[in-house]
């Protein structure tokens, strides 16, 4: 920022006041000048124009007038007659001449009388056409030769008036041609009359100074640029003073009249108007000195300058007073501010002034008080915060390893814990770079990243392995906090470490253990893969076994079909004719064994499925009554044949959702089992079914030998036979009960036996009203 140039208020006020007053004055002056100038010019122009044109016209008419008068004289009969005689007879006798003169004098006298004061004839000459003066008021002139005289020569051609010096007197000389009576202007003139007249009337017009102020004059100049009237400024200027000024040239060269400011014959600037009468051989000039015209303006200027000086003086005095009243309290305020800026807030500011400065001072004093108060509060706060900070620092020092470094990492402060863990003394550490503790464990990129973080003003957190003075390594969990200066650049760093060496060691051990475990896991994985492979092979073998079993079942059942079929055909008597009782018994035996074989095959297949948990169920509506009818039909013959008392005790109308064929299979198994075990005579089998506790309970009771307690637990095992001796009485594969258990369990029920050795056996199974089977493929 540019430092402002010091200008005190006093100077500023004076400067501003002066500037304002003088500017105003100047503006007013300029305006006045312009309007006064315009006004003056206009007035002078009007005046001079009227003077020049008025007087010019007056001169012109005066000349015309005088020429006319003289022409009248020239037309006098006496003069005409006399000159005719003179022309015809140049040498008149003196008597005649005296007579003529007498007459001439009488005529001139009478003319003078008539003309009165309008013209005063001083000299009248009648000149003959040969240029010899014939008659003159001055008789001495008579007889003299005027033939070379300019006035005469011009007078033979026209009438005119010219100003000319006569005996050092300025005179208006009029020359008119004399014509023969009655022949005016048709023939050549017979002579010239030259009259010298006074200039009184002309001077009256020209020398009248009225309206021309102190320096104005009116004069006339002839074609030879010679002044032909008197000057106001130069004595005897007429016919001597050359006037070769602008309007003179304009008139005689171009015939123009002008009005302008130009130097006159005295070479003094004047304002002039011209009246050009070139035809009469003169130009009239009305001129007033420019200096006189503009003298009111000069006076005005002088008045303004005087006023300016006076006003400036007054303004300076007033502004001095005003500035003093303003600056005095400001100076006092400055003194107070100076004290405050030096830290002294105790001096109150007392300025008694009713204006803004007084208010400013008052507010300033209030500000001072509030700053004083704030300062005191701040001091208290700083004391409190310092104490807090000291407490915190003490707490930090007591718990953490702390180091302070400058912005380059040079240690400036360490606490006791730092000294303790690093094994260096404080003296050894301060002034050293923090790198002194570098263990070489971390790659350079680690520290680069750390520096990048903290030097950009961010907090770094990480775990660092350091090396103590004795070469021992220790791990610290580190937080580095950069302290920033006012530009946001780190000026120092506080590193707070916590010893995590034990943690790290444990972690390392854990890592090692984990690595070992990983290796073990790898081995286990390989073994599992091996096992899977073996399993796959086994599964393949199992599949082959399954395929073999189903193939075997098909291949075994197919030949059984014609065997059982033909047995039936033979037994029918109608198809293949009647059999003898022996034949029939033989066919029965064949059929019975074939059916047994078929049943065994089916049981094996079911056992296989049971083992593979592949027993499938076909759940549907099961009508117990229908099952009972089928059982009756299927077992009627065998029961009769074996002489068994078969009773059915089934609650009619029972229905459930289950697998009908499988229930039949279980009942068949249980019934065939009982049939096998009842005594040869008086065998009794009862089939029962009823609802119990929401379930349907089937029972097959027999009066067989019963089952010993120790064997009961194995009853439902596969291939289990109570009697395994080679001489065993009962056949069968030992699969029936195992399959039944599998079926009942699969249908959500339970199967059990109630038996005692010697007291018969009762097999029961209960089924839920509704069976759910996940393996069911039916709906």
């Amino acid at each position: 920022m540019q430092k402002p140039v010091f200008i005190n208020i006093k100077s500023k006020i004076i400067f501003v006041s002066l500037f304002l007053s003088i500017t105003t004055l100047f503006a007013v002056s300029v305006l006045s000048f312009i309007s006064a100038d315009n006004l003056l010019r206009e007035r002078v122009s009007d005046q001079l124009l009227s003077e020049s044109s008025g007087r010019g016209a007056a001169i012109r008419s005066l000349i015309d007038n005088r020429v006319q008068q003289i022409r009248l004289l020239a037309a006098n009969e006496v003069i005409q007659k006399g000159i005719q005689q003179f022309n015809e007879n140049a040498t008149l006798d003196s008597q005649q001449l005296a007579d003529y003169r007498k007459e001439f004098e009488i005529e001139v006298e009478s003319f003078q009388r008539v003309a009165g004061n309008s013209v005063i004839l001083e000299n009248v000459k009648v000149i003959g056409k040969n240029g010899i003066v014939y008659l003159s008021s001055d008789p001495s002139e008579e007889g003299s030769d005027y033939s070379a005289n300019e006035t005469f020569k011009r007078g033979t051609t026209e009438s005119f008036l010219e100003f000319a010096p006569v005996n050092d007197q300025r005179k208006a000389v009029v020359a008119v041609p004399i014509f023969e009576h009655g022949k005016i202007e048709t023939t050549a003139p017979i002579g010239v009359l030259v009259a010298t007249t006074d200039t009184e009337a002309f001077d009256e017009i020209l020398l009248n100074r009225k309206g021309l102020g102190a320096t104005g004059e009116v004069y006339i100049v002839n074609g030879n640029r010679i002044m032909i009237s008197e000057s106001r400024f130069i004595e005897n200027a007429a016919f001597r003073q050359v006037v070769d000024t602008l309007p003179v040239r304009e008139c005689f060269d171009n015939g123009d009249e002008i009005n302008a400011i130009y130097p006159d014959y005295r070479n003094i600037p004047i304002v002039g108007f011209s009246y050009c009468a070139r035809d009469l051989g003169f130009v009239l000039l009305a001129e007033i000195d420019e200096a006189e015209i503009f003298s009111p303006i000069t006076q005005l200027r002088n008045a303004i300058i005087a006023a300016a000086v006076v006003i400036s003086g007054v303004v300076v005095v007033i502004s001095l007073y005003v500035s003093r009243t303003i600056t005095k309290p400001i100076t006092q305020l400055m003194g107070a501010v100076d004290k405050i800026s030096k830290g002294d807030y105790t001096h109150s500011v007392k300025i008694q002034s009713g204006d803004e400065i007084g208010q400013l001072a008052m507010q300033f004093d209030m500000m001072r008080k509030s700053v004083l108060e704030t300062n005191m509060n701040l001091n208290r706060l700083v004391r409190e915060r310092t104490k807090d900070l000291t407490d915190m620092t003490n707490a930090l020092d007591a718990t953490a390893i702390v180091a302070v470094t400058d912005k380059d990492g040079t240690i400036t402060k360490v606490n006791n814990k730092f000294v303790e863990i690093s094994k260096y003394s404080e003296k050894e550490l301060v002034g050293q770079n923090h790198r002194i503790l570098k263990s070489g464990y971390h790659p350079p990129e680690f520290f680069d990243a750390m520096w990048k973080t903290i030097s950009s003003g961010k907090i770094f957190e990480g775990e660092i392995k350091n090396k103590a003075k004795d070469g021992a390594h220790y791990w610290v969990k580190t937080t580095i906090v950069p302290f920033l200066d006012e530009n946001g650049q780190p000026k120092q760093y506080i590193a707070i470490h916590n010893d995590i060496t034990n943690l790290k060691n444990t972690e390392e051990q854990l890592q090692e253990a984990l690595a070992r475990d990983r290796a073990n896991a790898e081995i286990i994985k390989m073994q599992v893969e091996e096992l899977n492979k073996t399993n796959e092979e086994l599964r393949q073998k199992d599949k082959l076994k399954d395929e073999f079993l189903s193939m075997a079942s098909h291949e075994l059942k197919t030949p059984l079909t014609p065997i059982i079929g033909w047995c039936g055909a033979l037994k029918s008597n109608t198809i293949l004719g009647a059999l003898t009782p022996e034949q029939r018994a033989a066919v029965d035996t064949i059929e019975k064994n074939a059916i047994k074989l078929e049943k065994m095959i089916s049981d094996m297949l079911d056992a296989q499925k049971l083992e593979l948990n592949e027993l499938k169920f076909n759940i549907g509506e099961v009508d117990i009554d229908k099952i009972v009818r089928n059982v009756q039909r299927d077992f009627e013959f065998i029961m009769k044949e074996k002489n068994i008392e078969f009773t059915i005790n089934v609650q009619p109308g029972l229905k459930l959702r289950s697998d009908e064929a499988r229930i039949m299979q279980v009942l068949n198994a249980l019934l065939y089992n009982s049939i096998d075990f009842v005594p040869k005579n008086n065998g009794k089998i009862e089939l029962a079914a009823k609802v119990d506790d929401g379930k349907i309970v089937f029972g097959v009771k027999d009066n067989g030998p019963g089952i010993p307690k120790d064997k009961q637990q194995f009853l439902f095992k596969k291939f289990y036979q109570v009697d395994t001796s080679l001489k065993r009485k009962h056949g069968g594969t030992g699969l029936g009960l195992a399959i039944s258990k599998g079926i009942v369990t699969g249908l959500g029920g339970t199967i059990w036996v109630d038996t005692e050795e010697g007291k018969g056996s009762s097999f029961y199974f209960s089924l839920p009203r509704e069976s759910r089977n996940e393996n069911s493929h039916n709906r």
Binding site: T558, P559, L576, H777
Partner: protein, 126 residues
Amino acid sequence: MRILIIDDSADITDLLVKVLTTVGHDVMSSDSGKDGLEMILKEKFDLIFLDIAMPDFSGLEIIDSLVQAGRIKDSPVVLFTASSITDSEVNELIKKGVHSCLRKPVRIETLFEKVQEISQLPAAKS
């Protein structure tokens, strides 16, 4: 009734032909799946006993052919098999239009019952 038996085992076709002819049915047989299919496509039967496992053209292929030809419902087909086809697989075939399934071996009474059941069906539309 006109009955057709398709089974690759001559022992079985002979038995069924004999038994069913005896009770007065008009029984034809084929021991080849392909020939059997041709016969079914050529003429109408009141009942067809169809074996599944046959070397040249299986019963399942015959059923698929009939289904494709839209002829499966023309004659009631009763599967007559010794294979270990499961009940649910049988149910799938019944959905396709097969009437039912008899599992080998079978008692003659069961066979007669099945013939009796089919004869009581409303006459199939031709």
